[in-house]
């Protein structure tokens, strides 16, 4: 085996290894991952069976909390759960039928409007829709 043949042989095998090293991640990339992409513009906030009239639930929306309520009349509404005063997480008050912030006693009505206490602005409203047995909340 001449030196040239050894070199050619090594070149050939290393070339194949290089090609494999490049193709391996590419092929893996093209295979779709198991987790389906969930976009943060629309999330399943709850199942229909989870929420009763005159109750609320906190869920994750993107990187911030959201609140999904079912009004006493049975309508679904969703808002950002970040209080507009100092960013505490709000909650639903079934006894007062409104949204309340425990930190400084801020109150919002069922349209998200700030009606009492320190909050300076209404809660950002999202749209809530029922799809089958799921309640889908999306921005705007």
């Amino acid at each position: 085996m001449t030196r040239r043949n050894v070199l050619n042989y090594l070149l050939g095998t290393t070339a194949l290894a290089t090609l494999a090293a490049i193709l391996y991640p590419i092929i893996k990339f093209m295979i779709p991952p198991r987790i389906v992409e969930s976009s943060a513009s629309s999330v399943v906030a709850a199942k229909v069976s989870e929420l009763k009239p005159n109750s609320g639930k906190i869920f994750r929306f993107g990187s911030r909390p959201g609140i999904l309520i079912q009004t006493p009349a049975g309508e679904y509404r969703a808002f950002s759960a970040v209080c507009t005063h100092l960013d505490c997480t709000v909650q639903y008050r079934p006894d007062e039928k409104l949204i309340w912030c425990a930190c400084h006693n801020g109150r919002y009505d069922l349209t998200g409007k700030n009606i009492s206490g320190p909050p300076p602005r209404p809660l950002e409203a999202f749209s809530a829709n029922v799809r089958g047995d799921e309640i889908l909340v999306s921005r705007g």
């Binding site: 290089t18 590419i26 893996k28 990339f29 976009s39 513009s41 921005r139």
Partner: protein
């Protein structure tokens, strides 16, 4: 085995006539001299462009070009898709490397006067390609739809809007409306993956064809007939491969150790982040605009600045037609002086921008 290959060769030759290309490549030669090293940069730029096309196509499998989904889709690629982080980081890094080698390639052709007759159109197509690459960079930068990109695009298109006469039209054309919105994103996506690649295909084909037609240019100091020659296949190509594999290694290291960041999702209602700057290949222009006084002789300073760079761009394109011919006397040529001044200006202003 060999008989089988030659049979297939005959079949293809009858239908495609590919042997002409094979003959061209087999006979292609590259001059060897002191400045031969610069010959590699054109091929390097083309290689990195090919990397962009490949990684770009792969990213297309998962990217979603709308304001509601773009950021999340890139986040998905970075976190959930296998080797998504690698493909995306390579795409971002290679874009910058490619523009870097394009700068080197262009300046080397300038200083080595490769644009002399009959290669003027090679230069022109190259200059246009350079601007095309900047457009690729500008349009691609917006696609992840993060805060930095959003504001960089806002500022960049604002500047486009200042161009006299066509400015307002240009702004609306680029933005797809009056403001930077999801419409801008979709439009930039269209530019980035369809319109610019189509133009690039034409320009690259013209540029590469012209290089094959005229062969490699030799600098004025080298006699083309006396200089030793290197065969393209296998010698030059092997050296090309070394360069290209080195580039791949560099990209792999960069992607693994300095992954391209995701940033925060763009929010049109939040204020611009402090100290925003465009990408490095625009930064010297951006910094220049900062130094121009607001009014010069009654004309808006910014408008003058943009006109100035526009003029420079135009001069770049027509360089072969305006540069001084070879000095027959011992008089020094102005060209390298101008070239060095421009280079120094770019470096100094970029440094100033990053110091603050």
């Amino acid at each position: 085995m060999n008989a089988w290959i030659s049979k297939w060769g005959e079949w293809l030759e009858e239908r495609l006539g590919w042997r002409a290309a094979q003959r061209l490549l087999e006979h292609k030669e590259v001059p060897v001299h002191r400045h031969s090293i610069w010959y590699y940069f054109g091929g390097m730029t083309l290689f990195l462009f090919a990397v962009q096309v490949c990684t770009g196509i792969l990213l297309l499998l998962y990217y979603r070009p709308s304001a509601e989904t773009a950021f999340e889709s890139v986040q998905f690629i970075m976190t959930q898709v296998q080797f998504g982080w690698l493909i995306r980081s390579i795409h971002s890094w290679s874009a910058n490397l490619m523009i870097g080698t394009a700068f080197v390639h262009m300046f080397s052709a300038l200083f080595l006067r490769s644009f002399r007759r009959p290669r003027e159109l090679t230069w022109v197509s190259g200059a246009l390609l350079f601007f095309l690459l900047l457009c690729f960079g500008f349009s691609g930068y917006l696609l992840p739809w993060n805060k930095l990109a959003f504001f960089a695009t806002k500022v960049g298109t604002d500047i486009a809007g200042i161009v006299p006469l066509i400015g307002p039209f240009l702004l609306r054309f680029l933005r797809g409306g009056d403001e930077v919105t999801g419409a801008t994103l979709t439009r930039f996506f269209g530019f980035h993956v369809a319109i610019l690649p189509a133009i690039a295909t034409v320009l690259v084909s013209v540029h590469v064809y012209l290089i094959q037609k005229h062969g490699m240019s030799t600098p004025p100091s080298v006699d083309p007939d006396k200089a030793p020659k290197m065969k393209f296949i296998p010698d030059f190509l092997l050296r090309d491969l070394v360069g290209w594999l080195t580039a791949v290694t560099v990209l792999a290291v960069l992607a693994a150790i300095f992954p391209w960041e995701l940033g925060e999702k763009a929010d049109p209602f939040s204020p611009a982040p402090a100290g925003i700057k465009p990408e490095w290949y625009f930064v010297y222009m951006f910094q220049t605009l900062k130094y121009i006084p607001s009014k010069i002789l009654g004309i808006d300073g910014e408008v003058l600045g943009i006109m100035f760079f526009g003029l420079l761009g135009l001069l770049l394109i027509i360089t072969p037609f305006i540069s001084p011919r070879e000095p027959r006397t011992g008089r020094r040529s102005l060209l390298p002086v101008v070239g060095i001044l421009v280079l120094v200006y770019i470096i100094v202003l970029s440094a100033l921008a990053y110091r603050t």
